[in-house]
Amino acid sequence: MTDANTNGIGRLEAELRAGPTIDGAVGDLLETFVRHAAERGIADVVFATTPSPVGEITIAATVEGVVAVGWDTDRLLAKLAVALSPRVLEDRSRLDDARRQMAEYFDGTRLSFDLPIDWSLTTGFRRGVLQELATVPFGTIVTYKDLAERVHSPKAARAVGSAMAANPLPLVVPCHRVLQSGGALGNYGGGDGPPTKAWLLRHEGVDLSGRGSTSF
């Protein structure tokens, strides 16, 4: 009797542990959830990833527009959760347009991005520099010094450099088009660093022969 009883309990517990039968993928539920969240205005930051020749890229947006672009998804999302809102959700459909434009840029069929931008992750001087940089066209290069002059602070090349380093919108705001005054490639924070910068410039048809990747 004890044996039968123990087996009965064992079977009951095993079935409880196994759980009920579940139909349908959780992915569908999550898609519906993100839609509901957006309708209620509580999807503060949405993101999606997209493949590219220089590695997977994450694009994040608020209701204002694209707010951040980056390579390291987890790090980027953690940063956005602190800087903007912890209500960070994946929403591929809301980023359809941005993902498509990104793919076109890498195909070479798009020379400039036409996306609403949320500049809220950058302020003051740095925002001014980045907004000026956003007007530098595909396939052209400027130096840190040029850019400093263009924002009427000719002596601020170094500060321009740090504005580049803090660019929350690489690719869309083309910090890869900024080189050092001596002609060296300079640094790059995205992807694999300077090799990614070189790849992007070659992709845009810039001749990099004779340029080193380090500063003089």
Binding site: L12, L29, L77, A78, R87
Partner: protein
């Protein structure tokens, strides 16, 4: 308070919350209840003061929502019974057949139901179960025991 992105909370817990809801309120109610739980959680998330047990926090919300579902179900059953008493009104559709064990689980009192599910579906320690259903650790243990005893009776019929 540095909260992780809500996406990470979803990624880590969506499957477990869903399993808990299918077990606790049944497959027909589970999807809507899932939306209800997650929207409440997302809404409250930025004001959360303690990120050390996000899973327990989600399950506490899920516990309350399952109680709501059962309460609505009970009200509906009263209405259906009243309607059935009227010969003109057609009787509501019967639910599709469901596994006897899970039907029995859904018939447990709320605390026993939640305690049994968290104990066996998620292997939660009694301390965490107690926090979710709002009772002492000893009471959580007692709820699991009483729930199992009730299920055993149904199960051995």
């Amino acid at each position: 308070m540095n909260l992780p992105p809500f996406e990470a909370v979803l990624r880590d817990n969506a499957l477990d919350v869903r399993r808990y809801l299918v077990a606790g309120v049944g497959p027909q109610e589970a999807d809507d209840c899932f939306q209800d739980v997650m929207l409440s959680a997302l809404n409250a998330y930025p004001a959360l003061r303690d990120a050390t047990n996000l899973r327990g926090w989600l399950f506490t919300i899920a516990y309350r929502k399952t109680i709501d579902v059962h309460r609505r179900g009970a009200r509906r059953r009263v209405l259906v019974a009243a309607a059935a008493a009227e010969p003109e009104v057609p009787v509501a559709h019967p639910s599709p057949p469901d596994d006897e064990l899970w039907v029995a689980v859904r018939e447990l009192p709320p605390k026993q139901r939640a305690a049994v599910l968290h104990r066996f579906l998620h292997d939660l320690p009694y301390r965490e179960i107690a926090a979710i259903i709002g009772c002492s650790e000893a009471a959580a243990r007692q709820n699991v025991r009483a729930g199992l005893a009730a299920l055993r009776e149904v199960y051995q019929r």
